[in-house]
C-alpha cells in the first residue's frame, strides 16, 4: 500500500510538472465542446433563393412573401426563366423555386445547387415545407421529440465526450508508460521487488482521477453553458457510463504501451488506430445508418459507438438505465476483455 502511494505520488508529480500537457488536456475538452456547441452547427441559414413565376396568383404571392420574411432564406427576387441556369452556374444563387400556374393548378419545382450536399438537403427540405404548407389538402403535423429546437449541441456533446476520453486516457497512459520504457526507469521499477499489478495500478489510478476531473468540467459545460436537459437521475447515469468508458480508454492506453517501444509510436497508434475510427465510425458526426454496410460492421467493434449511443439516450432522451442494458453489457464486457489483455501483455512485457 505504501508502495502504491509512492507510485501514485510520483505519477502525480509527473503530471503537475508538465504544465503544458496538463493545460492541453484540460483545455481541449473545453475548446472542443464550445466549438461544436456554438460555432459548428449543421443548421443551414441564409440560403439564397430566386423564384421563377409564369403568372402570379394570390397563392404565389403568399408563398414568396413567406420566403421574404423567413430568416433561413435570403430571397433575391424574381428572375426570368431564361436566367435560371446562368444564376446557378455562376453561383449567384443557391436554389431556384419555379411556380407554374398557367394550367390553373399550381405546380412547383425546386432546383438546388448540390455542390454542398448538406446545404442542398436542408434547403430542399425547408423549401418543400414552405411551399406545401400552403397547398392545404392534408397538412402534416410534425412534432420533434427530445430536441424540439434541433440544437446541434445536443448531438455533439455525447460525441465529443466519446472522443475526448479515448484521446486523453489512451494517449496519456500509453505515453507515460512508454516514456518510462524510453528513459529506462521502467527497468528500475521492474528490478525492484514490486509486482507488475502494482505498477499498473500506480499508472491507472492517477489518470483515472485526472479523467474524472475532465468529466466534471465537461458536464459543467454541457449542463451550464450548452443547456443540455438536466435531471439528477440522468446525471447519475451519465457519470456511471462515463467512468466505465474512462476505464475502457485507460485499458486501451495500457495495451498500447505494452505493444510499442517509443512515445512517438504510442502517440501515432493512439491517434490513428483509435482516434480516427472514433471520429469517423462512431456516429459522432456521421450517422451510422449512412455508412456502407461493411463499415457498419466495423463500427460495431468501436467502443465509442456504444458509449455515444448510450450518452444520447441518457443525456438527450433522459431515459432510464433499464433501456441501456445492451450498451452497458457491451461496454462492460469490452472493458473486461481489454483490461485483462492489457494486464497479461504488460506483465509478460515487464516480467
Amino acid at each position: 500500500m505504501a508502495i502504491l502511494n509512492a507510485l501514485i505520488k510520483k505519477e502525480s508529480l509527473h503530471i503537475i510538472r508538465d504544465p503544458r500537457t496538463l493545460l492541453i488536456t484540460l483545455l481541449m475538452p473545453l475548446v472542443l465542446l464550445l466549438l461544436f456547441g456554438f460555432a459548428i452547427s449543421t443548421e443551414v441559414r441564409n440560403i439564397r433563393i430566386c423564384a421563377v413565376v409564369d403568372r402570379h396568383t394570390d397563392e404565389t404571392r403568399a408563398i414568396l412573401e413567406r420566403f421574404r420574411n423567413n430568416e433561413y432564406f435570403d430571397f433575391q427576387g424574381l428572375v426570368a426563366s431564361t436566367e435560371q441556369n446562368r444564376m446557378l452556374e455562376e453561383g449567384l444563387t443557391d436554389a431556384i423555386l419555379i411556380l407554374r400556374t398557367a394550367t390553373g393548378n399550381m405546380e412547383s419545382q425546386i432546383i438546388v445547387d448540390a455542390s454542398n450536399t448538406t446545404m442542398a438537403q436542408a434547403a430542399t427540405g425547408y423549401i418543400e415545407s414552405m411551399v406545401s404548407g400552403q397547398s392545404g389538402n392534408s397538412p402534416i403535423i410534425s412534432s420533434t421529440l427530445y430536441n424540439p429546437q434541433l440544437k446541434s449541441s445536443y448531438n455533439f456533446v455525447p460525441g465529443i465526450m466519446g472522443m475526448i476520453f479515448i484521446l486523453i486516457c489512451a494517449i496519456m497512459t500509453s505515453v507515460s508508460i512508454v516514456r518510462e520504457k524510453e528513459t529506462g526507469t521502467l527497468n528500475l521499477l521492474i528490478v525492484s521487488p514490486i509486482r507488475a499489478a502494482t505498477i499498473i495500478l500506480g499508472k491507472l489510478i492517477p489518470y483515472f482521477i485526472l479523467s474524472a476531473v475532465i468529466l466534471a468540467i465537461v458536464l459543467m459545460l454541457a449542463y451550464g453553458v450548452l443547456g443540455m436537459p438536466y435531471s439528477p437521475a440522468s446525471i447519475v447515469n451519465v457519470v456511471l457510463f462515463s467512468l466505465l468508458y474512462i476505464l475502457l480508454s485507460l485499458s486501451i492506453g495500457l495495451l498500447i504501451s505494452a505493444l510499442v517501444r517509443t512515445q512517438l509510436a504510442a502517440l501515432i497508434v493512439s491517434a490513428v488506430a483509435f482516434m480516427l475510427p472514433v471520429v469517423m465510425l462512431s456516429g459522432m458526426i456521421f450517422p451510422i445508418d449512412n455508412l456502407p454496410i461493411v463499415l457498419q460492421w466495423v463500427s460495431a467493434v468501436i467502443p465509442a459507438r456504444w458509449y455515444i449511443a448510450a450518452m444520447r439516450k441518457i443525456m438527450v432522451q433522459e431515459i432510464g438505465i433499464g433501456f441501456l442494458v445492451g450498451e452497458l453489457t457491451i461496454l462492460a464486457s469490452t472493458t473486461a476483455v481489454l483490461l485483462t489483455l492489457a494486464i497479461v501483455k504488460f506483465k509478460s512485457a515487464v516480467r
Binding site: I3, A6, D18, T183, T185, L188, I190, S192, P193, I194
Partner: protein, 304 residues
C-alpha cells in the same frame, strides 16, 4: 563455495546475434570485480540477465545462492542495479527520487542513510534540484545512492563512469572502494581499460566471450612478451616503418605512443637508428610495462 555470483555456461542472443556465448564466471563475496571490454562486447546483456531483466537463452546463474530465473523476485531485493544510461526521473528532485526508490523497496531513507551519506554529501546542498538539471558526476552519484538505498548485498554497476569527467571518475572509484570495505560485493563494468587496475579481479570480455578472468597483475603477466614504447615527430610514418621490421611482431597506437611487441632479437638502439635513417626525427624507443589494453589487443588479434 564462497561465490556470491555464480554464472555457468550462460548464453544470450538477440535474434540471430549471439550477445553472450558460453560465459562462466564466479565472483566472491565482498569482491570488487570488473567486467572489462569494448562497447558491444556483451557487458550490458550480462548485467540485464543478472538483474533479472532478460532471461538467458541457455545456461544459468545464481546470485546469493538464488537462481536468477526461478527465484527472480528474491534476487531483485538483494541486488542494486545501476543501468548504463542515466535512468532516474528527470522531473523529480534529488530528494524525491531518493525517497521514491526507498519506498519501492519498503525502506526508509533515514534508516539506511549512513550507507549513502558519503556519496550523498555533495547532493545534500541542493535537495530540490531536478535530477535532469544535475551535472554528469552528480547524476551518477544520485543514481548510485538510489541503487544503494535498500542496502543490497550486490551492486551491479553497468558502465557507471562512461561519459563522466576524469575527476568524478576517480572520486567514483574511491567511493566503490569504501563500499567494498563495508562488505558490499561490487560488479562494475567499464570500457576504460585503465580502470581495470582499480579492480581486485577482472573478467575480460569481447564479442560475448570471456577472454580471461584473474587479477589485473596476473593477467598482464600472461602477456609474456617484450614490449617497447616508441615515439617520433611523425607517428604515422613511424608506425608504418616499425611494422616493416621483421623483429616487430605487432605495432599499434597506445595513448600518445606506439607500442611494439617484439621478438627477443630486437635491439631498440639499432631500431631507433634505422628509423632516423628513414628520415624520422626525435625517435625514442624505450622498454614499456604491459597493461590490460596490450593483453586485450594481443588476445583479440589472435582470434582474428
Amino acid at each position: 563455495m564462497n561465490a556470491i555470483v555464480d554464472i555457468s555456461h550462460l548464453s544470450a542472443r538477440y535474434g540471430r546475434t549471439m550477445a553472450l556465448d558460453d560465459v562462466s564466471l564466479q565472483v566472491d563475496k565482498g569482491e570488487l570485480f570488473g567486467v572489462i571490454g569494448p562497447d558491444g562486447a556483451g557487458k550490458s546483456t550480462l548485467y540485464k540477465i543478472l538483474a533479472t531483466l532478460m532471461p538467458p537463452a541457455s545456461g544459468g546463474a545464481s546470485v546469493c545462492g538464488l537462481d536468477i530465473v526461478k527465484d527472480y523476485r528474491d534476487v531483485r531485493s538483494r541486488i542494486g542495479y545501476m543501468p548504463e544510461r542515466f535512468s532516474l526521473y528527470k522531473d523529480l528532485s534529488v530528494q524525491e527520487n531518493l525517497k521514491f526508490f526507498a519506498a519501492l523497496f519498503g525502506v526508509s531513507v533515514k534508516k539506511n542513510f549512513d550507507l549513502i551519506a558519503p556519496i550523498f554529501r555533495q547532493l545534500e546542498r541542493f535537495p530540490d534540484r531536478k535530477a535532469g538539471a544535475l551535472s554528469g558526476g552528480m547524476k551518477q552519484k544520485l543514481a548510485l545512492s538510489c541503487a544503494l538505498i535498500h542496502r543490497p548485498e550486490i551492486l551491479l554497476l553497468d558502465e557507471p563512469t562512461t561519459g563522466v569527467d576524469a575527476v568524478s571518475r576517480s572520486e567514483f572509484w574511491d567511493i566503490l572502494q569504501s563500499l567494498k570495505n563495508q562488505g558490499i560485493t561490487i560488479l562494475v563494468s567499464t570500457s576504460y581499460m585503465d580502470e581495470a587496475n582499480l579492480c581486485e579481479r577482472i573478467a575480460m570480455i569481447d564479442r560475448g566471450r570471456i577472454l580471461g578472468t584473474d587479477t589485473p597483475a596476473r593477467l598482464v603477466a600472461r602477456l609474456g612478451e617484450r614490449l617497447f614504447a616508441a615515439r617520433a615527430d611523425n607517428m604515422f610514418r613511424l608506425l608504418e616503418e616499425l611494422r616493416r621490421l621483421p623483429q616487430v611482431k605487432e605495432c599499434y597506437t597506445f595513448g600518445a605512443n606506439l607500442h611494439a611487441v617484439v621478438s627477443d632479437d630486437f635491439d631498440p638502439q639499432q631500431a631507433a637508428r634505422m628509423m632516423e635513417h628513414c628520415g624520422l626525427k626525435g625517435v625514442s624507443i624505450t622498454p614499456a610495462e604491459g597493461t590490460i589494453e596490450d593483453l586485450f589487443i594481443k588476445l583479440t588479434a589472435n582470434e582474428q
